[in-house]
């Protein structure tokens, strides 16, 4: 079947949309999904740029079968190149370019705020319809900030307790960081900082608890916080699903997030575990190309359709 000819009947997105793919845990398929989603989007005649934001641990280029990129992210970061479009590395796919982090120094992960802000500004100069950020594992400020920068925030989990646990930690950390950055009132900022410490003495263990506490002290501030909470939304993909019941974990995470955190989740679907996927990894070819008729591809198509349907979460 020619996947490129499949009718996705997608909703048109505004010019230049940034999608960030994160999830807190390593080895859950973020890079693999980023590269395959990028290829899929490029087939929709969209100009796509993928940026390897797994700072210090970059390997998106390998996933796309690109050898030794001429320029990398550090060239931009250390002012060796001014125009981010000069960093774009062609891939084997028309409309798809890469900004790689290959062989960048490991210290790049600890970039100071000024460099981070500059990088974010430079991303906006990139000529593309879609910019996909492949984030690294963990909850470092840099990872969280690039996640929050995105119009669409995508979280990948696998149906394993460790993955779900890390995803919750990532969601909570990103959410608090967003709130803290957008809250001018000192005592609310202080409460947010206390909430970021899970062992805080006020017993604030979730964004919902935080909101209750703020609303108790000041209904107006509580209302403001509530609006910010309601505007925060992320999309969820469950990867490496081996049984139908494992696919249900996406719905469960959605329900729990909405009830416990008070955060809206757009569950976009799951990708089944498929032998052809790891075979494609070995070949350094996206499974979309290597196994176009696999069940993984069918599900990826559903996921992408759902991602394109929903409005940006920024």
């Amino acid at each position: 079947m020619n996947i490129a000819n499949r009718n996705l009947s997608v909703v048109q997105q505004p010019t230049k949309t940034i999608w960030a793919i994160g999830g807190g845990k390593g080895g859950i398929g973020k890079t693999l999904l980023t590269s395959n989603i990028a290829v899929f989007l490029s087939w929709l005649n969209k100009k796509v740029v993928v940026i390897d934001m797994d700072l210090g641990g970059a390997n998106l280029h390998t996933s796309l079968g690109v050898n030794n990129p001429a320029h990398t992210l550090s060239d931009l970061l250390y002012n060796r190149i001014e125009n981010p479009n000069e960093l774009l590395q062609a891939t084997h796919f028309r409309n798809l370019s890469l900004i790689s982090g290959a062989h960048d120094p490991t210290g790049i992960a600890n970039m100071p705020h000024v460099q981070k802000a500059r990088l974010a500004r430079k991303f906006k100069e990139i000529e593309a319809d879609y910019i996909l950020l492949d984030l690294g594992a963990g909850t470092t400020h840099n990872t969280l900030d690039f996640f929050l920068l995105a119009d669409k925030k995508i979280i990948v989990v696998t149906p394993e307790p460790t993955s779900i646990e890390n995803a919750y930690r990532f969601i909570k950390a990103a959410f608090y960081r967003m709130l803290r950055a957008s809250t001018p009132t000192p005592y609310v900022r202080q409460l947010i900082e206390q909430a970021m410490d899970e062992k805080n003495h006020k017993g604030i263990s979730s964004p919902k608890d935080l909101l209750n506490e703020v609303a108790r002290l000041s209904p107006a501030e509580g209302e403001d916080l509530k609006n910010k909470m309601q505007s925060f939304m992320f999309s969820l993909i469950v990867n490496q699903v081996r049984a139908k019941t494992e696919g249900d974990i996406g719905k469960s995470v959605q329900i729990v997030c909405e009830r416990y955190f008070g955060i809206h989740v757009d569950y976009t679907g799951f990708i089944p575990y498929d032998n052809s996927v790891w075979q494609s990894i070995r070949k350094r070819v996206p499974f979309l190309i290597d196994s176009p008729n696999s069940t993984a591809v069918t599900h990826l198509e559903d996921v992408l359709r759902n991602l394109l349907k929903t409005s940006p979460s920024k």
Partner: protein, 226 residues
């Protein structure tokens, strides 16, 4: 702090509309039950066993109530009555009292937990207004022979601000709708949506309300919006 919320209605608990069918309720119940089950990996790192047990118990009660027609009818009545009490407090001077009531509620109950969860959360409020005025008010309200949105609203004792707060329709559009001010009305599709919301609030038949309003709007002269 508590992870459960006793202030939530059964509909909010199950994340369904108050108009949800039994099949929708059952589906929502099964998903929620699965999410909060003892061996669920979606909750193990977040919630203590007593919290999930509490939620499961609430889900069970909600499900048993809403899937039994008699129990659901009784529950809806009680739910509406409780909301009437809240509204009566706000009624004497709606413009000033409502904001006070909102503040008071915000102080008494957590803001998030009192926030609407279900898509059609305004419906329960519309039910409560209905109790005051009798159901299914005639379209040619007060025998004027025309569909007069302003008169219908006033007969319910509501201000434009009240209606805007409940339906989330901006006051400027409510005003334009009532005055049939074509220059300030949005596109037809929005008008239809707004009218359906208003029909729910005023306990009118949405289809008839939309068709009658649009018919009268067509007969109204004046410039249309660009």
């Amino acid at each position: 702090m508590s992870k459960t919320n006793s202030e939530e209605s059964y509909y909010q608990l199950l994340r369904v509309s108050p108009k949800a069918s039994v099949s929708e309720i059952t589906s929502a119940y099964l998903s929620a039950k699965n999410a909060f089950s003892k061996d669920s990996i979606a909750t193990y790192s977040l919630m203590a066993a007593e919290d999930t047990t509490d939620i499961l118990s609430q889900l069970e009660t909600a499900y048993m109530t809403l899937t039994n027609p008699d129990k659901r009818r009784d529950y809806d009545k009680r739910l509406n009555s409780a909301e009437i009490v809240n509204l009566e407090v706000a009624r004497p001077n709606p413009e000033s009292q409502i904001s006070q009531e909102t503040n008071k509620k915000a102080q008494q109950t957590p803001v998030f937990e009192s926030a609407p969860v279900v898509a059609n959360s305004n419906l329960s409020e519309s039910h409560s207004f209905d109790k005051d005025t009798g159901s299914d008010a005639p379209l040619n309200h007060l025998n004027t022979g025309e569909f007069n949105l302003s008169q219908i609203r006033e007969s319910k004792g509501l201000t434009l601000t009240d209606v805007s707060r409940i339906t989330k329709i901006p006051v400027k559009y409510l005003k334009a709708l009532e005055e049939r001010d074509k220059a300030n009305l949005p596109a037809k599709v929005y008008i239809q949506g707004f009218l359906k919301n208003l029909a729910q609030l005023y306990r009118l038949d949405p289809k008839t309300a939309v068709s009658q309003y649009l018919m009268q709007l067509e007969q109204t002269s004046g410039p249309t919006s660009p």
